[in-house]
C-alpha cells in the first residue's frame, strides 16, 4: 500500500519544518525524518543568525560581506534574496516565541561574527539553534504538521525525469513502504560524518544529497567544505577528540587563539581581523602554527577565554563552558580550551535555483543539503541558520506556485520501487561472509581527514579518489552480522555509509578538478584564485561512466569581483 500526500518533505530540521509550516494550511504535507524532529542537527547550532535590523546596517552591506566571504563564488541574486528577507525571518521567529539575547533596553542583541563589518548576528546566548528549532517545532505542532518520525528514506522514485515519490524504512517495524507525492523537498542537512573529525551529529550522513544524485539530480560546488577553526580537541593523553563546536561567538566575545609558546598568532595570518577573519583563514592559520611546531603535544592549540571573566562567560557562553567541562574536564573560566579545526559545514549540495527548484521536476532542496549558492566557497557564521528559515519559507511558496502544474502521483511506479528496495535490503541483511561495514566507514573517514581536508593537493586527491572507489566496491561485499528487523540501527548505519561513500566521491572529484584555491578549497599545488578559469560553479552528475564534472557561470550583478 502506497501512502499518498500532496507534498513530502525529507528532514525535520529547521529547513524542513519551516517549509512544512508554509504549506500545511493549503496542502496535505508530510515530513519524514530518521529521528524525532527535536533531535535534528539544527539543535546544535550555537552562534547566531544574521540580519541587518539596525539603521546603521543594511541588506546591501550584509550582501557584500556574504559575497566577499564567499570568495566571490556566491550567486548575487540568491544572496540578495537571503539578506533582504533576513530581518523578516528573525522577527517571525521572535514572534513565535524564541528567547533571543537582548540589549539592556529590550531590543534584539547582536554580536560580531567573522568576516562581517557590523555586529549583525542575533543570538540566544550560545544555544541559538536549540532555541530556533524548539520554537519552529512548536509552531509545526500548533499547525498540525504530519510527521513520520524514525522513518529512513531509502530512495527517491522518478519517472521520466520527474520525482514522483520515495521509499522509506520505518525503524520501529523494519518495513519498507512507498510514498507518492506531487512534490518532494529534500531538507536533510549536511554530511559531516564523511569525515572523522567533524562538529556534526552522528546522524549527518548526507542522505538527501546521495539520494538526489542517484535519482538523477545534479550536485553543485561539492568541493567547498568548511572546516571550523575551533572544535574541541582531545588532550594529549586522550584518543577521543569529540570535535564539538566551540562557537565563533566565543571569538566574537573576545576569546583569543594561542600557540604552545602562549602567544597569540592570528595577526600573522590576518593582520586586521585576526581571530575574526573568515573561517578558512583562521583554520589555515592554526594548522600552519601546528605544522611549524608551535602546537601542543597531540596536535592542537588553545582558545583562551579566561580574560573574559566569569560573569561574561556565564552569561554569553554558558553552553561552551558546559561543553568544555563535560567533554574535556576543563573550566574555561580558569583554563584555555584545547581546539583544532574540523569539518563543520557543506557549502555544496543539491544543485538548485534560489527558489529551491532542482533540475529534476518535482524535486526541491533547501538548507545545508541544497546549493542555491548563497555561501559560495566559504560561508559566514550566522548565515546558515538564516538560510534555513528564509529559504524554508520561500521553497514552500515556490511549491505552492508550481503545484497545479505538477502531474498527479503515479502509485504503481512507487509501489514497484518499494518492492525493489525490500529485495535490496533483504540481500544486504542476508550476506553471511564479508567485512563489517564499520571497517569501511573508518577507512573512509581516515582518507577524507588526511587527503581531502583543509590543505589539498592533486596527488592526495587522486589517491583519495581511488581509495573511495575501492571502498565502494568493498561495500558490495559486506556482512552485517546477526540482527533483527526491528530497530535495526546497524542496517541504518550501513545505508548511511552507502550515502557517505557517494558524497565523498563527489567532494573529492570536485576538489581534484578545481585547480585553484578559493575560500575553503585550498590547493597547495595551485595556491592562487583563478577567476579566468574558475569563477564558476562545478556541477556534478552521475552517468554510466561515473561522475562527470561540468561548470556553470556564477550569477553576478550586485558588486564587482575583487581580488
Amino acid at each position: 500500500m502506497v501512502k499518498e500526500h500532496d507534498i513530502l518533505i525529507i528532514g525535520a530540521g529547521l529547513s524542513g519544518l519551516r517549509s512544512a509550516i508554509e504549506l500545511v494550511d493549503d496542502y496535505d504535507v508530510a515530513v519524514l525524518s530518521k529521528v524525532h524532529p527535536l533531535r535534528s542537527h539544527s539543535v546544535a547550532a550555537q552562534g547566531g543568525i544574521n540580519a541587518a535590523i539596525r539603521e546603521e546596517d543594511s541588506w546591501r552591506d550584509h550582501a557584500y560581506d556574504t559575497i566577499k566571504g564567499s570568495d566571490f563564488l556566491a550567486d548575487h541574486d540568491t544572496v540578495e534574496l537571503l539578506t533582504k528577507e533576513a530581518p523578516r525571518a528573525v522577527i517571525e521567529n521572535e514572534q513565535w516565541g524564541t528567547v533571543f539575547s537582548r540589549t539592556e533596553d529590550g531590543r534584539l542583541a547582536q554580536r560580531p561574527f567573522g568576516g562581517q563589518r557590523y555586529p549583525r548576528t542575533c543570538y540566544a546566548a550560545d544555544r541559538t539553534g536549540h532555541n530556533l528549532l524548539h520554537t519552529t517545532f512548536e509552531q509545526a505542532l500548533r499547525k498540525g504538521v504530519k510527521i513520520y518520525d524514525e522513518w529512513f528514506v531509502t530512495s527517491i522514485v522518478t519517472e521520466r525525469d520527474r520525482a514522483i515519490g520515495l521509499t522509506a524504512l520505518q525503524l520501529a517495524s523494519g518495513k519498507v513502504e512507498g510514498f507518492a507525492a506531487r512534490a518532494l523537498v529534500v531538507a536533510t542537512g549536511g554530511y559531516g560524518r564523511v569525515y572523522k573529525k567533524s562538529t556534526n551529529s552522528i546522524i549527518n550522513t548526507g542522505d538527501g544529497i546521495a539520494l538526489a544524485l542517484r535519482a538523477g539530480a545534479s550536485l553543485k560546488d561539492m568541493e567547498f567544505v568548511q572546516f571550523h577553526p575551533t572544535t574541541l580537541a582531545g588532550t594529549s593523553e586522550s584518543r577521543y577528540s569529540s570535535n564539538i563546536l566551540i562557537t565563533e561567538g566565543a571569538r566574537g566575545e573576545g576569546a583569543y587563539l594561542i600557540n604552545s609558546k602562549g602567544k597569540r598568532f592570528m595577526h600573522k595570518y590576518a593582520p586586521e581581523q585576526k581571530e575574526l577573519a573568515e573561517r578558512d583563514v583562521v583554520s589555515r592559520g592554526i594548522l600552519t602554527e601546528i605544522k611549524e611546531g608551535r602546537g601542543l603535544e597531540g596536535g592542537f592549540l588553545h582558545l583562551d577565554l579566561t580574560h573574559l571573566g566569569a560573569e561574561k562567560i556565564k552569561e554569553r557562553l554558558p553552553g561552551i563552558r558546559e561543553i568544555a567541562m563535560t567533554f574535556a574536564g576543563i573550566d574555561p573560566i580558569e583554563e584555555p580550551i584545547p581546539v583544532e579545526p574540523a569539518h563543520h559545514y557543506s557549502m555544496g549540495g543539491i544543485d538548485c535555483d534560489r527558489f529551491g527548484r532542482s533540475p529534476l521536476e518535482g524535486l526541491y532542496a533547501v538548507g545545508e543539503c541544497s546549493c542555491m549558492s548563497v555561501h559560495g566557497a566559504n560561508r559566514l557564521g550566522g548565515n546558515s541558520l538564516l538560510e534555513t528559515l528564509v529559504f524554508g519559507r520561500i521553497v514552500g511558496e515556490t511549491i505552492a506556485e508550481d503545484f497545479d502544474g505538477l502531474d498527479d502521483t503515479k502509485e504503481d511506479a512507487v509501489d514497484d520501487a518499494a518492492f525493489e528496495m525490500r529485495q535490496k535490503l533483504q540481500r544486504l541483511m542476508l550476506g553471511e561472509r564479508g567485512e563489517p561495514p564499520a571497517e569501511i566507514r573508518d577507512e573512509l573517514n581516515e582518507t577524507m581527514d588526511e587527503k581531502v581536508g583543509v590543505f589539498r593537493n592533486g596527488d592526495d586527491l587522486e589517491k583519495a579518489l581511488s581509495r573511495i572507489k575501492e571502498l565502494k566496491s568493498r561495500f558490495n561485499e559486506i556482512a552485517l552480522g546477526d540482527m533483527d528487523e526491528r530497530f535495526n540501527y546497524t542496517l541504518i548505519r550501513t545505508l548511511e555509509l552507502e550515502n557517505l561513500i557517494d558524497v565523498a566521491e563527489a567532494i573529492t572529484k570536485g576538489a581534484l578538478m578545481r585547480k585553484e584555491s578559493r575560500g575553503a578549497h585550498y590547493r597547495e599545488d595551485f595556491p592562487e584564485r583563478d577567476d579566468e578559469e574558475y569563477l564558476q560553479h562545478s556541477i556534478i552528475l552521475r552517468t554510466d561512466e561515473g561522475l562527470e564534472v561540468d561548470y556553470r557561470d556564477v550569477t553576478l550583478g550586485l558588486f564587482e569581483v575583487e581580488d
Binding site: S101, R107, Q139, F327, M483, R486, Y489
Partner: protein, 246 residues
C-alpha cells in the same frame, strides 16, 4: 571494562543482560562504548543517538541506576557519579549478578514501554506537548517585541530543556501514575506562562494545573537532580502549584 547491558529484542520486559568487554580509553563516553559494542561485537544492540554533544536529547538511559545522557557521561567518571535520587523500583531492583565494582550497568530509561533493548516509546512524553498546547500564538505585526534582560532571565533555564525525557524517567510519580504529564511539560508550561511577551498566558497555567498535571506532583525533586541541563522542573512546578488561576 565490562558493560552489562539490558536486552529486550522483542520489546516489553527486559529479558536478560548481555556482558561485553569494552576497551576503554581516556575521554571515552558511554555512547562511544555502545558504538564499540554495536560496531565490533553485537550489531543487534539497539540504542538511540544523535549529536554526541549533549544537546539533542536522544540518548537518555540508566547507567548504574542513574538516568543520564550516554553521550554526556565519561566512562571513567561513572563510579563517582551520584544523584541522590529518591528511590523507586527501577532504581532499586538490582539484576542478579551485577557487581558495580566489576561492570557498568546499562538499562533503558524507566517509566516508558521498552520497544527494543535501550529504545523506549516516548510517545506519551511528546504527546503532552500537544495536549497542553505548549506553543506561543503568534501576534500580528512585523516588529520584534521588546523583552528586557531580566524578563528573559526568569524563563531562560526552562528554555534550556532539550526534551530528553530524563526527568520523566527519573520521576517516581510517573512510575506509578501513567496519566501524569510529567516534569518537562510542566516546566515548559511555566516557561510560556511567565513569558512577559505573550498574551493569554493564563491558558498555560490552566493547562499545567489540570488534574493530570501539577496536582499529581509530590515535589520529590528527582527531576531537578537528574536533569542534565540544569532546567530544574521541580522549581517551576512548585511555582505552578502556588499560583492561583484567578
Amino acid at each position: 571494562m565490562l558493560f552489562r547491558i539490558a536486552r529486550s529484542r522483542e520489546g516489553g520486559e527486559i529479558t536478560h543482560y548481555d556482558v561485553y568487554k569494552v576497551e576503554v580509553s581516556e575521554g571515552m563516553t558511554v555512547l562511544d562504548a555502545l558504538f564499540q559494542i554495536q560496531d565490533r561485537m553485537d550489531p543487534s544492540l539497539a540504542f538511540r543517538y544523535g549529536c554526541r554533544g549533549a544537546v539533542c536529547g536522544s540518548c537518555g538511559m540508566l547507567v548504574n541506576k542513574m538516568p543520564v545522557l550516554a553521550c554526556g557521561t565519561q566512562v571513567k567518571e561513572i563510579r563517582d557519579l551520584s544523584m541522590n535520587l529518591h528511590d523507586f523500583p527501577p532504581l532499586t531492583d538490582i539484576p542478579a549478578g551485577w557487581d558495580p565494582e566489576r561492570s557498568v550497568l546499562i538499562e533503558p530509561l524507566p517509566n516508558f514501554p521498552i520497544l527494543k533493548d535501550l529504545v523506549v516509546d516516548l510517545s506519551k512524553f511528546y504527546d503532552a506537548l500537544e495536549e497542553l498546547k505548549l506553543w506561543a500564538e503568534p501576534q500580528p505585526g512585523n516588529e520584534a517585541r521588546s523583552q528586557f534582560p531580566e524578563d528573559r532571565k526568569r524563563i531562560e533555564r526552562y528554555v534550556h530543556c532539550i526534551m530528553c525525557a530524563i526527568c520523566f524517567g527519573a520521576c517516581p510519580v510517573n512510575h506509578e501514575k501513567e496519566e501524569y504529564v510529567g516534569p518537562a511539560a510542566l516546566a515548559k508550561a511555566w516557561r510560556f506562562y511567565d513569558d512577559a511577551r505573550l498574551t493569554q498566558r493564563r491558558r498555560y497555567l490552566e493547562a499545567a494545573k489540570q488534574e493530570h498535571g501539577a496536582p499529581l506532583c509530590e515535589l520529590i525533586m528527582n527531576c531537578v537532580r537528574a536533569c542534565p541541563k540544569g532546567v530544574a522542573p521541580g522549581g517551576a512546578i512548585r511555582k505552578i502549584k502556588s499560583e492561583s488561576i484567578e
